[in-house]
């Protein structure tokens, strides 16, 4: 036989994520085991609650809907997802076994290639990427359901028996928490509470009212640092020593969210609350179990670090944990928030350590209060893995006489923080946007002046700087400099509305390559030397567009997704366009993150370029759609701000 019989079908399957990762011989094996089936429109292919799927279905043509019967409006079917040509379904149900969680119906006449379950499972064993992919698809489905259903999901979907490996699926709090928390009334003597905890072998006790309403929590650590140090008698009530109010979380929240909450509040226990009643306790150890690594452990390690050197040594494990968490998957918003959370922590710690070092080195404490600003993507909380530094420093106004000395101190300080950040894996900003640059280490008054000047007299260079600086956010601040600065910026903008036109024109600088992908599809076999810059052609236009509108409307948040939501609320963006933009932004971000992770795994330096040929059908389709949406946004900007009037 000179060639495989079903070469084109093989090509088709190869273009379907995640099968693009399979070597040819495995693809041939898969295709040889396949069957072609036809399902007339409205045929129920997999019934929710029925036996799990026997096949993985590849849609050759037509589309299918994934739904949850009885969960929609008026007891109808809730649409969870739609699958079209080049998509698959049934994979989850196959891996999961047990009862099918969702109903799959042919939305239109459907032709599918069916891969028998046994063959699929064999492939999963040799290619973990497959299993991961379908695990993540569960997460997406659940997310879709969770967005619509506030009621008890497990009861509807029969999710109790979730049996996929937990690291793969983004598990939910309900599955990880200790479901029978040890609780006590606020009046219980600490002695009795300690006794209970020891007997039940738990590390925390939840203090609750008789009805179950949580009042506080008392942990092992609290016993050590509060009870032992402060209690006069062990008969004093627990209410005296508990942390209150406790940090709580819903049992339906994802492990991811719990992790964010813990690292954000710096706690190791969350009280799981439903209908205002305690239903469980989630500790950082419960989370460690699913990640293999210990994210919270790392967060704790960052907090405990006593020197810059130690922090630098910790950097590989921080990286590993962040990477691990990113690989677990999640929405773009969560992933970006997570990376930012870790980076913020490192930066905050570095600032504190540097202050100490300066003091011990005889250079003294900071002469006046100051604030450390995160700018650019860090300011927007949109960092992926390692990105260049973008930061600045603002300090209290000082008399003319001492200004040079004060600025000198802060410049020295900033240089050390910047250098520390470099050693922790954040390269210096090539454009010099760093607090160690005298231009970006200024007193409050000077900053006000700088911003006002940029707004009053926009020039190409200041517009570019504005697009970095106007996304500022405080990482560390001893006073409300940044609120005042934001207010001043707003006033300046009121005084010169024309500035927005310039800002908008600047936002139109990067255009999405609309013809790019189409051309690519036609041009088979040519050279594809021209790669696509995901960041500049997809993300930057959205980020820039959202910034202009947010500045016009006086929206304070700097995060692009939050900006888009606020802009929509204020009616400047139509609901559909806003939703499409969020989708486009999230998709490109996820694509970018996955590319970065791939590069990492292969030991390459992550960049923002992607070879369109390496994208599968679905990704190409999504990217094309995303570019169209970006284009729509830019047309809107052109019209609203009349950018063509700028000569």
């Amino acid at each position: 036989m000179e060639e495989f019989h079903w070469q084109r079908i093989l090509e088709f399957v190869r273009a379907v994520a995640p099968f693009d990762a399979l070597p040819p011989e495995d693809l041939e094996r898969a295709v040889s085991a396949m069957e072609v089936a036809y399902f007339p429109r409205d045929t129920v292919i997999i019934e929710q609650g029925g036996p799990s799927s026997r096949f993985l279905y590849f849609i050759q043509s037509g589309s299918a809907r994934v739904g949850l019967p009885g969960a929609g409006e008026g007891g109808g079917e809730l649409l969870v997802d739609e699958r079209g040509e080049g998509d698959t379904f049934g994979g989850l149900s196959l891996l999961q076994g047990g009862k099918a969680m969702f109903r799959v119906t042919a939305r239109e006449d459907l032709i599918c290639y069916l891969l028998p379950g046994e063959v699929f499972k064999e492939l999963c064993e040799t290619h973990p990427a497959l299993e991961r992919h379908y695990g993540a698809s569960l997460a997406r489905n659940l997310q879709a359901v969770r967005e619509h259903v506030s009621c008890e999901l497990p009861a509807i979907a029969g999710l109790e028996g979730l049996s996929l490996s937990a690291a793969m699926v983004r598990s939910r709090v309900r599955e990880l928490m200790s479901p029978k928390p040890v609780t006590c009334l606020p009046a219980m003597p600490v002695k009795a509470a300690a006794h209970n905890m020891t007997q039940q072998q738990v590390g925390s006790i939840v203090v609750a009212q008789p009805g179950g309403h949580p009042l506080g929590i008392l942990t092992d650590t609290d016993f050590r640092v509060r009870v032992m140090l402060r209690a006069c008698s062990l008969d004093e009530p627990v209410a005296e020593f508990m942390s209150c109010p406790p940090h709580t979380i819903s049992p339906d929240a994802y492990a991811f969210e719990a992790l964010l909450a813990m690292s954000h509040h710096g706690v190791h226990h969350l009280v799981v609350v439903q209908d205002d009643r305690v239903v469980g306790v989630l500790s950082d150890r419960d989370l460690q179990a699913i990640t293999g690594g210990s994210p919270v452990g790392v967060v704790r390690a960052i907090d405990k670090v006593a020197s810059v050197g130690e922090l630098v040594r910790l950097h590989p494990s921080i990286d590993r944990v962040v990477e691990l968490l990113l690989r677990m998957g999640g929405s773009a918003r969560e992933m970006l928030a997570l990376v930012t959370e870790f980076n913020d922590r490192v930066t905050t710690k570095l600032i504190a350590l540097t202050e100490e070092d300066m003091e011990h080195g005889g250079e003294g404490r900071p002469p006046v209060p100051y604030g450390w600003m995160a700018l650019g993507s860090e300011g927007r909380r949109e960092q992926t893995l390692r990105t260049d530094q973008d930061n600045a420093l603002i300090f209290a106004n000082v008399p003319e006489a001492s200004s040079e000395r004060v600025k000198g101190w802060f410049l020295g300080f900033s240089e050390r923080v910047v250098e520390g950040l470099v050693r922790c894996g954040f390269p210096r900003c090539t454009g010099g946007v760093m607090a160690s640059n005298p231009d970006w280490c200024q007193s409050e008054a000077d900053w006000h002046q700088t911003f006002v000047r940029w707004v009053q007299d926009p020039k190409p260079v200041t517009l570019r700087l504005g697009s970095i600086f106007f996304d500022f956010r405080e990482i560390y601040a001893e006073a409300d400099y940044l609120d005042t600065l934001r207010l001043r910026l707003k006033q300046a903008m009121e005084d010169n509305r024309l500035f927005l036109r310039y800002m908008a024109a600047n936002a139109l600088y990067n255009r999405p390559p609309l013809g790019f992908l189409r051309q690519f599809v036609v041009e088979k076999g040519g050279e594809h030397a021209n790669k696509l810059n995901l960041k500049l052609s997809g993300l930057t236009p959205i980020v820039d567009g959202a910034r202009v509108m947010a500045l016009e409307l006086g929206i304070d948040t700097t995060n692009t997704l939050e900006r888009l939501a606020a802009i929509e609320t204020q009616g400047l963006l139509k609901k559909e366009l806003a939703a499409d933009l969020v989708e486009a932004f999230s998709f490109i971000t996820l694509l970018r993150i996955s590319r970065h992770l791939e590069a990492r795994a292969e030991g390459r330096t992550p960049d923002n370029f992607v070879d369109p040929e390496s994208l599968n059908n679905f990704q190409r389709k999504m990217l094309r759609e995303s570019f169209k949406v970006v284009n729509e946004l830019q047309s809107l900007l052109e019209q609203r701000y009349q950018t063509r009037l700028i000569t």
Binding site: W6, M34, V36, A37, Y38, S61, D109, I111, L114
Partner: protein
Amino acid sequence: MSLVKAKLANLLLRRRLKRRDLNPHALANLEALEGLDPATPINECRFVVLDTETTGMDPEQDRVVSVGAVRLVQGRVRLGEAFSELVNPGRDIPAVAVKVHGITPDKIASARHGAQVFEEFLGFLGRDILVAHYAKFDLHFINRVMRGRYGFPLQNLVLDTVLMCQAVVLASDPYGISRHQKACRLEALAQRFGIAAPERHTALGDALITAMIFQRMLARLEAVGGARLKDLMRVAQLK
């Protein structure tokens, strides 16, 4: 011909051939109708969908250059059970035909001759029901070899997707405008059903398309209550 008649003819044939020394393939083919029951649900039937490429359209002069077939069981086409062979026609291939199927003389120079390939196909076919588009044409070539080698024609039940399409698809055409030869062509039917060709236009690729069209028509037939083999035979059996 009803299944009863076919079985009767088959029985007579077997009587007649009793004393002859037959090759195993021929013997097996004599049993092709066994187990077939008009009341069998279509979903439980096994089909082999066949397509051939030839040197031309003249059944007397022309010869087969390529055979492709896929098996369809429980309404699904099994890609892993496919038959695809080039055949040396033992004569030249007219340029016109090369244009149609792209099989050039040098490609089939090393191919086996019709009789060998045919015997192998007979093994692949087994007792399954044979389905083809313009089945008469394909059957003609098969039977020429069958008669030449074994002295009797193919015993399997044969269905024609063109007949079936005239009964199942075109009958529902409200104005009868499409009741035209062209509407029965493979490409026209594929287009009608919105089936994108999964493979190239080889014998095997066309066999797959035929199978997918057959699949569609089976669904239509079942939708109007024709769920048994006898219903299928009524609309598709080669007369």
